[in-house]
Each structure stands twice: as structure tokens, then as C-alpha cells.
Point group: none
Chain length 228, copies 2
DNA sequence: GCCCCTTTTGACGCGTTTCTGACGCCCCCG
DNA sequence: CGGGGGCGTCAGAAACGCGTCAAAAGGGGC
């Protein structure tokens, strides 16, 4: 869940933002002044900060600098000031975006999404499992590498593809038709002999005892299953 | 040097931007329409794109999508449209910022700086690798230099680009399509012969025994992998 | 306008991968 | 106890991808 820190001293603005953000399943913290904002940011590590420049206790730009001292969290500045100088100052202090009041909620939310999106790490595999380990070998799905007894195992494209599908469905039974179509393409639903040949290759390369497979299990008449 | 791609069909705007940007030592390319923009982006790999939405040949949002298909380069949208919907659409399509015309040059430049700044790699502490060393040669990603036996190795731009992609993905397999698109541009997904030619060049220049590569590994049918 | 470096393109041989058919085994079922 | 379907294994044939070389085309600098 994305966490937002809203910093503003006007309760009605905070309320409007909080309602809209929560409705879109953001997690929201709110701070009425700069000191609280810096404190909350440190304690809660928000994914994005919405910051009003007109705070009662300190200059908004100081808040930006305070944050930038230790974090690259996206900062979206809200302000009633329209002058160019104000904007330039805030942006150069480290803000990511600057929206003038009165603002449209839709636009603000879109800018928020943009700020959060570009802060996301590159690889899609965020919480995804990338390395699968068994007692005999290790499969690294990101690097497309298979390791056995400390040495890399060479797999052909088809072998790798088949392995990938099975491992990604670890523990589950994968039907022969599904397997065939995912590896060879949608028009290959019945060539089960392909499966037999390539499962044999995989077992020969990865199983300790290929004739008594412990990880690549055949479910007769149905399909195959990868077991860790 | 920071490279900017300006996309606008109004010559006077382009001129104003180019003058201001060059005065601040940016390197500037300009495109009058969407097709040229996509082409130039692929060829020149700008660090930031300034994009007018009102183009003669295609919808600006399509240009955004075209870019986002293969790159995360910051996109700063310029537009005469003030409506919230337009902004939301552009931002959600992948734009990073949205400035309405007429715009203040100071503000635009500040937003440009902000966009470039946050796209910068995490410097210093966070473990961004800049120098990669193997037993045969050293690659300095920041200085764009390769050293072998104490002397610099001359690489052509394409060779360097290819090397950079491989090294940045060190240890991971990089698919041929990905490699082609990152180095030659999004429309080059299938020209695998380019890869063969340039991998051979890299090996000849960097491998101790080019015919038995130890660092630039071919994974037949899939792609290439750089191993330290 | 000319020259040189880089990029693109085409052709060829070779090794590897994929496809294909044949055979025997095992297990389930009649 | 016999039959059959599904599975594993093997090996040869066809197809494909890779490395290599060389020449043409392109582009930038002088």
C-alpha cells in the first residue's frame, strides 16, 4: 500500500485530501506544521509527501531541505503563491512538482500517481520470488540461470522455457495442454511427445537420479508438477 | 552533458527553448512532429523530453506511450490545454510533469532541472556500481572508459552502448530483443545479426581469447550475459 | 567536396537444438 | 492373464542460430 504524508495547516484542505486519498486506498498521515512533518516523515517513511508551503512554524523550503537531507521521497508542493520565483525556489530545493491553489483534485491525484510511479524500482519483480532453491539445484528466474553443485547448467531455450513455467507454478500441477501452449505456442495442444522428450532432458540435467525424479513429477494423464 | 529533446511544431517556441537551453549548456535536439520525436529519442537517448501535446501528425499521448514502451526518460509535457482531463490523461500515460502555455521560462527550466535531478542514479553510498573489474579489463561506467593492461581501449559509440547494457545487467541474461531495442532503438527487435557482429568486436577488443569468451557469454537462442 | 571511421548488410560453414519416429516398459483395466 | 494407453528413452534428420569475414553504405570532420 502506498503511504502519503499530507502537510498543511488548513484543516479543510487536509480533510479533503485525506478523504480522497483514503477512498483510493492510500494510507495517509497528516501533519499541520513543518516540525511535525519532518518527525512523521522520519517515523513513517511515506512513499510520497504532499507539502503546503505556507506553514505556521517554518518556511516550506526549509521542510524540503530537511527532507532532502536524508531521503529522495517524492515531494509534491502545494502553494497559493503563483510567482515564478517561488516555484523555482521550491523545485530547486528538491521538490518534484508544484501545484498552485486552488487545485483540481483530479489533477493533483494524477500528479501524485506520476510521482509515485517514477519512484518505483525498475524491475517489476518487487515482492516476487526470483530464486528458487531445491536440495539439488538452484533456479534464478531473473538472471535465467540454473546452478547445480556450484556450476552453471546449460539449458537450451526450450528447456529453460519449460522449466520456467513449471517453477513459476511451483507445487501446482500444470496440465500438458497448458504447458505445451505456453512453451510452444497456442497451436500446440496435443504434441505430448514434445513434453516427454524435454522433461527427460530436464531430469537428466537437474535430477540427482533422472529415472526416479523427485522434483519433476509426472501426473499420468494430466501433466507435470515441480516440487521444491 | 545533459541532452534534451524538444518536441514542438511551433518554430518560435522551439527557438526560444533551444536558445535558453543551450545558454545553460544543455545539448538540444528538436523534433517538429511525433514520428521524428520517437525516431530521435531512439537514436539520441535524451536525458529528458519536452513534449508539446499539439502535434501535426499524431496525438501527444500516443507519443508518450511510444516512449514509455521502452524507456523511463522523464517527459515534461507542454500544452495549451488547461482542462483537468487532458492533464490527467497525459500524466497517467506516463508523463512526469505538465506545464500549460503560456509558460514562464524560469519555471519550465526549474521543472526540467527537477525532472533530470530525480532521474539521476543514486550517487555515492547506495551501492550504485560505477566501476566493474574483471581479470582482463576494467569498465568505468561513469567515465565511459574501458581499460585493459593499463591502456584505454577505444570503443565506437555502439560498442560502448552494448557493453554498458551488458555490464549494467552483470550476471543476468539479457535477451537479444531487449539488447537490440536498448542499443539500436525500439524498432530493432529482430536484427540479431547486429548483435553477432558487435559482440564479436567487443570480444576481439576485450577478451583474452576472443574465440573462447569468458566474460561475454552467448546463450544460444536467448541472448547474452556479461560475467565478471 | 573529399576522406576516414563507423555502421549496415550479405554470404557461408559449422555446431547445436529441435523435431520426429520407433521401441520397450509399466501400470491400469478389462 | 492379456491388451492398451501413456510414458520414458534413443537416435537420426532437418532446421536454426551463431561466429566470421568482407564489402557496401552512411556520416561527420576537415
Amino acid at each position: 500500500m502506498t503511504r502519503v504524508l499530507v502537510v498543511d495547516d488548513e484543516p479543510q484542505i487536509v480533510r479533503a485530501l485525506v478523504i480522497n486519498l483514503k477512498a483510493r486506498t492510500y494510507e495517509v498521515d497528516a501533519a499541520p506544521d513543518g516540525a511535525t512533518a519532518l518527525e512523521l516523515a522520519a517515523a513513517r517513511h511515506p512513499d510520497v509527501v504532499v507539502l503546503d508551503l505556507g506553514l505556521p512554524d517554518m518556511d516550506g523550503v526549509e521542510v524540503i531541505k530537511g527532507l532532502r537531507g536524508w531521503t529522495r521521497v517524492p515531494i509534491l508542493v502545494l502553494s497559493a503563491r503563483h510567482t515564478s520565483d517561488e516555484k523555482v525556489e521550491a523545485l530547486d530545493a528538491g521538490a518534484d512538482d508544484y501545484v498552485t491553489k486552488p487545485f483540481g483534485m483530479d489533477e493533483l491525484l494524477a500528479r501524485l500517481r506520476a510521482a509515485v510511479r517514477r519512484a518505483e524500482p525498475v524491475g517489476g519483480g518487487d515482492g516476487e520470488v526470483v530464486v528458487v532453491e531445491t536440495d539439488g539445484f538452484t533456479v534464478d528466474l531473473a538472471a535465467k540461470k540454473v546452478n547445480r553443485d556450484g556450476r552453471d547448467v546449460r539449458l537450451t531455450p526450450t528447456e529453460w522455457h519449460l522449466l520456467e513455467v513449471l517453477v513459476r507454478n511451483g507445487g501446482r500441477l500444470v496440465g500438458q495442454k497448458q504447458l505445451l501452449q505456453e512453451v510452444w505456442g497456442p497451436s500446440y495442444g496435443t504434441e505430448t511427445n514434445y513434453l516427454r522428450v524435454y522433461m527427460a532432458q530436464l531430469r537428466r540435467k537437474l535430477e540427482a537420479d533422472p529415472s526416479h525424479p523427485r522434483h519433476f513429477i509426472t501426473e499420468p494423464g494430466m501433466g507435470y508438477r515441480f516440487e521444491r
